[in-house]
């Protein structure tokens, strides 16, 4: 019997050897394909079943967690009567057996975070206390030790959301990680949590800060409590990292740091014209009247983006000293965008002189220029 089977297999193998190479390949692929298809279906089955089971469990647990947080935090009797530090939670509610399972604990962390995204103030503080009192800090720190970068990012995110100190020894090595996402997350955490010199990395950053990271940084810098806002002109003057400088320009405009105007004006000499455009934009937002004269003077030597930015800046500053310049640009430029921005800036002045000028221009202009003025005057059109 056994020898018969061997015989058969051997024969099959023999005849396989005789077949054309093509057919051999084809046969091999048929088996691979069949095998892969069966595996694929099994995985689909398994995954769906698992997801189903998970969802069922979650749907059972989620209301419990929400109820616990609602009772302990949101409608806590002592809220706003007793200082947050002194509020005690009901031990029975926190020590429920379900909060011993790791994945439930993870869910509690995530739920607390989503509440924290909606509430600050006393409620936010109490949520943080709940996180600490339930010992979830340890869960997050444990995740930090994982070798998987996405877990580390998650841990860093949780700890910063909860405003928990991470020692410099733990976080600084991560700021040099080879993984860019982890690097960015660690850097953000450092800025948010480090009490001394949060902006140190601006000095050392050699790589561009991606626009996405700028968003995160901007949020952290503008929303973190008691962060000492430095004078950003420092980096405008000394940093060689282009993205650091342009990011600092945005921060300068946001914090309206008037003292930075001279440093920003120095950038008008910079050889990179995208840089100059950013600087002009910043000066406009700072309504730096001192820079007007200079911008008008360099106007003719500038490329078009810088020219448009200068026109916009003149509108923002609105000193009225350069209405004639704007008028001549509007009347004599051959570039549509220049005329459009000149008209818009004149209108933005909104002084008796500018209004008179616009009325005058509207009457004397030809069709397209008149259309531009009506367009810019229309309150329904924003751009």
């Amino acid at each position: 019997m056994f020898s018969g089977l061997t015989q058969l297999l051997f024969q099959a193998y023999e005849s396989f050897g005789v077949l054309d190479l093509f057919i051999q390949i084809a046969l091999a692929f048929i088996f691979i394909a069949l095998f892969a298809t069966i595996i694929a279906y099994s995985v689909i089955l398994y995954k769906r079943w698992k997801a189903y089971a998970e969802e069922k469990r979650m749907n059972f647990i989620r209301p419990k967690i929400e109820e616990m947080i609602t009772e302990q935090v949101l409608i806590n009797e002592n809220l706003e009567k007793v200082p947050v530090d002194e509020i005690e939670f009901d031990p029975a509610a926190l020590n429920d057996n379900i909060y011993k399972t790791p994945w439930v604990r993870q869910m509690v962390i995530e739920t607390i975070i989503s509440y924290r995204k909606n509430f600050r103030g006393e409620v936010g503080e109490l949520l943080r206390k709940l996180y600490i009192d339930m010992g979830l800090t340890k869960d997050s720190f444990d995740k930090m030790k994982s070798i998987r970068w996405e877990k580390k990012i998650k841990a860093v995110g949780e700890l910063t959301q909860m405003d928990i100190q991470i020692s410099d020894v733990t976080i600084l090595p991560l700021t040099n990680s080879t993984n860019p996402s982890l690097r960015a997350a660690a850097r953000n955490a450092y800025i948010q949590l480090s009490k001394n010199e949060p902006f140190k990395f601006f000095d050392v950053a050699t790589e561009p800060i991606l626009p996405w990271d700028q968003l995160e940084l901007f949020k952290i810098i503008t929303t973190t409590k008691d962060i000492a806002i430095p004078n950003f002109s420092r980096w405008v003057s000394y940093s060689t990292n282009k993205s650091v400088v342009s990011f600092c320009l945005k921060l300068i405009a946001h914090y309206d740091q008037q003292s930075a105007i001279p440093a920003v004006m120095d950038l008008l000499n910079n050889k990179d014209h995208y840089f100059r455009a950013d600087a002009i934009n910043c000066l406009g937002k700072l309504t730096a009247e001192a820079a007007e004269e200079r911008m008008v003077r360099i106007y003719n030597t500038q490329p078009i983006y810088c020219q448009l930015e200068i026109l916009k800046a003149l509108g923002r500053i609105g000193s009225g000293k350069h209405l004639d310049f704007l008028k001549s640009e509007f009347l004599f430029s051959s570039n549509f965008d220049v005329r459009m921005n000149a008209a818009r800036s004149i209108i933005k002045h909104n002084t008796p002189a500018s209004r008179a000028l616009i009325d005058d221009l509207k009457e004397t202009s030809h069709d397209e220029n008149r259309l531009i003025i009506s367009h810019c005057q229309n309150p329904l059109i924003k751009y």
């Binding site: 409608i75 924290r116 909606n118 509430f119 006393e122």
Partner: protein, 133 residues
């Protein structure tokens, strides 16, 4: 007690505000998107409407404009609660007639105080009106 309509598409936030305002003794009705909000607005009369900005079917600005555009509902106080922080959106909300704008994350205490203030103002206002008569 005052009737408050909360319009918010984030489930957690919706329940949380409901609980907090409920605890403060207000009568709270909820809507989780623009369509439900319009239905609820037809169904009953509210003293205060707390609305999110970005949500399905209709955005918060539409809710504000509809309330302000309807003579029978013009008296309703409106508080916009949103995570949108850009200046244009905030001024737009006020221009349409919102009474207050709270940026998320909000302080629960602040929300309660603002609601109370709006209700007090209205009470004073209506007292004045009745006195004049």
């Amino acid at each position: 007690m005052a009737n408050i309509l909360i319009i918010e598409d984030d489930d957690i936030m919706l329940k949380a505000i409901k609980n907090i305002l409920g605890k403060a003794g207000y009568n709270v009705i909820t809507a989780k998107d623009g369509k439900e909000a319009f239905d609820q607005m037809e169904n009953a009369d509210y003293d205060v409407v707390v609305t999110d900005l970005m949500m399905p079917y209709a955005n918060g600005l539409e809710v504000v404009s509809r309330l302000r555009g309807d003579a029978t509902k013009r008296h309703v106080s409106i508080i916009v609660v949103s995570s949108v922080g850009n200046e244009e959106t905030i001024t737009e909300a006020f221009r349409l007639g919102a009474d207050d704008y709270l940026k998320k994350p909000i302080m629960a205490g602040e929300l309660l105080i603002r609601i109370k203030k709006l209700l007090d103002n209205r009470a004073n206002h209506s007292k004045l009106v009745t006195k004049k008569k």
